[in-house]
């Protein structure tokens, strides 16, 4: 007489000893295993935002980790939580990644107090990316509002590193106040060395501000957009991309050449927890990068 069920211990399976490979979505792996990273540098950008340079410590894991512009990672601060952050650095840089993080909750507040040398974890990369190869041979227009410049820095690096493959590249960037502008130390380099046309605007000027004042849509008057040969990437608050995309639509840019990156609060990054759902779509798996036509089709996106 035997009725005993045998234990099927999946801890012993080979995939349970290997580092997870988040680019391979369909294999069983340790989905909650993090790559341990060291914060090798911290750059204070504004009063609210800091740029963290993270280096994956294990060489094998560092080799496995590669991302495309637009993708995000889950950043783990052990004991304090995990947050989705889009990667702001060049996808060519396999040594370390850069994350631009705003202080806005339990996890990020803790992270902002962290010192150089601190150890955190990352999982990823997750989500869709911008079709950079498809854009080659065309003009590229990057439009960012506020913190939206952070996710656009990765595609900008891509273009800059392959500058010959792209035609005119322009960045339109708007914030509420001048002091909220991110990466100001790179503007000159982008313009002079990389031949990127950069137009900035603020809603509310302070006494030192000598640039333009107004809404980001006003910048359209200063550039010529060729609707037949232009790809656009927009990132910013929902109100902004609605106005911007409507305007671009009226210029005749096809909706499938306009890309937006949506922001939601992912908890798992893997299309399970449903916290980032927009309509019936997972922002973490089917997004965060969507073309404008897909966004229009999502209930409750805007």
């Amino acid at each position: 007489m035997n009725y005993r069920l045998l234990k099927q211990d999946i801890n012993l399976k080979p995939f349970m000893t290997m580092p997870p490979q988040f680019n391979r979505k369909t294999i069983v792996m340790r989905t909650d295993k993090v790559y341990k990273c060291e914060i090798i540098n911290i750059v204070e950008l504004t009063g609210l935002e800091k740029l963290f340079h993270l280096k994956i410590l294990d060489p094998v894991e560092r080799e496995i980790f590669s991302f495309r512009p637009g993708q995000f990672i889950m950043l783990e601060v052990p004991g304090f939580g995990e947050v989705p952050i889009s990667v702001s650095s060049s996808s060519n840089n396999r040594e370390f990644i850069e994350l631009c993080i705003r202080k806005s909750g339990r996890t990020t507040n803790m992270l902002h107090r962290a010192k150089k040398g601190a150890k955190v974890g990352i999982r990823g990369p997750f989500g869709t990316s911008f079709p950079m190869e498809e854009m080659a041979g065309n003009n590229v227009l990057l439009i960012a509002g506020g913190l939206g410049l952070a996710p656009l820095r990765a595609p900008l690096y891509w273009v800059i590193e392959r500058r010959d493959e792209y035609r005119d590249v322009a960045v339109l960037y708007g914030t509420k106040e001048p002091e909220q502008m991110l990466f100001t130390y790179q503007y000159e380099e982008w313009e002079k060395v990389n031949h990127v046309k950069l137009l900035t605007i603020v809603e509310k000027a302070d006494k030192d501000w000598k640039g333009r004042t107004g809404l980001i849509t006003e910048l359209f008057e200063e550039i010529n957009i060729d609707p037949d040969n232009t790809y656009v990437i927009v990132c910013g608050p929902p109100v902004m991309f609605k106005f911007v995309c409507n305007h671009l639509d009226s210029l005749g840019i096809p909706m499938n050449r306009m890309f937006v990156s949506l922001e939601r609060r992912m908890h798992c990054g893997m299309g399970k927890c449903c916290r980032c759902m927009v309509g019936s779509t997972f922002t973490c798996v089917d997004g965060p990068v969507f073309d404008y036509w897909s966004v229009l089709n999502l209930q409750e996106a805007i």
Partner: protein
């Protein structure tokens, strides 16, 4: 936390009681399994129930009980002055609690009824927040030790403190309890903030709302449900006002 390069510092606390049963204070000294680690996070400067220390160099004052006498107001204001952070612990401190029931009667009647010939001075009951500025409220009758532990850990590490926003029902269903309404009793679980682990409904006792309202609690629907279950309107209001925790929210 050392791994982030952040040093943790012990929290210097003082624990003080006003009108209440001191059950919350007792709760702080409860849970033997973790008590040693818990006290390790603290430097107790003043805590009558567990130590003879009577210092006043505390950073965090945990205040239990409601205010019901004139001399308590003075004492509370002094504590407020010394404390960097004042935490109201327990439903009496946060909302007035059971003591608040007294406010339905004239103070004269109250004194006669309770003390007869040996009259004492008394006043309308107030929550701590009605008298001084409160930085943090930890509700519950009594407070949940697990929650206090979590909050103290957050204070020590400097992390943001979070409370559940959802109602008790979630925790109750997760314990696979039978709904107290199904047992023919009224339960404030659907509108009360969770975090207690649904202790009362787990013992088949209806929730009395000691932790205050859940965020966006649907009072109208709750009243209708209670009426549909055969409870009279006065009975429902009586329940809602029990700790003055939901009553306070209703008036807002």
């Amino acid at each position: 936390m050392k791994y982030l390069g952040i040093e943790t510092e012990k929290v210097r606390i003082g624990v003080f009681d006003f009108t209440g049963c001191e059950g919350c204070e007792l709760q702080l000294a409860n849970k033997e399994g973790t008590l040693v680690s818990f006290l390790d996070l603290l430097e107790v400067v003043n805590f009558r129930e567990i130590s003879s220390e009577r210092g006043d160099n505390y950073d965090v004052a945990l205040v239990e009980g409601a205010i019901s006498r004139d001399n308590e107001i003075e004492r509370l204001k002094q504590i407020r002055e010394k404390a960097k952070v004042l935490v109201a612990i327990g439903s009496c401190a946060c909302f007035g609690g059971v003591n608040y029931l007294k406010n339905r009667f004239s103070m004269e009647n109250v004194v006669n009824e309770v003390y007869g010939e040996h009259k004492v001075e008394t006043r309308r009951v107030q929550s701590i927040g009605e008298v001084v500025k409160v930085d943090l409220e930890i509700p519950g009758c009594p407070v949940s030790k697990e929650e206090v532990e979590r909050i103290v850990v957050d204070l020590v590490t400097g992390a943001d403190i979070k409370f559940p926003k959802y109602p008790v029902c979630i925790e109750c269903r997760q314990k696979l309890n039978t709904c107290v309404f199904d047992l023919g009793k009224i339960c404030l679980g659907p509108i009360t903030r969770a975090g207690c682990g649904a202790v009362c409904p787990s013992s088949k006792v209806g929730c009395l709302g000691c932790r205050g309202p859940a965020e966006d609690a649907n009072y109208d629907s709750f009243r209708q449900i209670a009426l549909d279950h055969g409870f009279t309107a006065p009975r429902i209001e009586e329940k809602l006002k029990f700790f003055n925790a939901l009553g306070a929210a209703l008036q807002k």
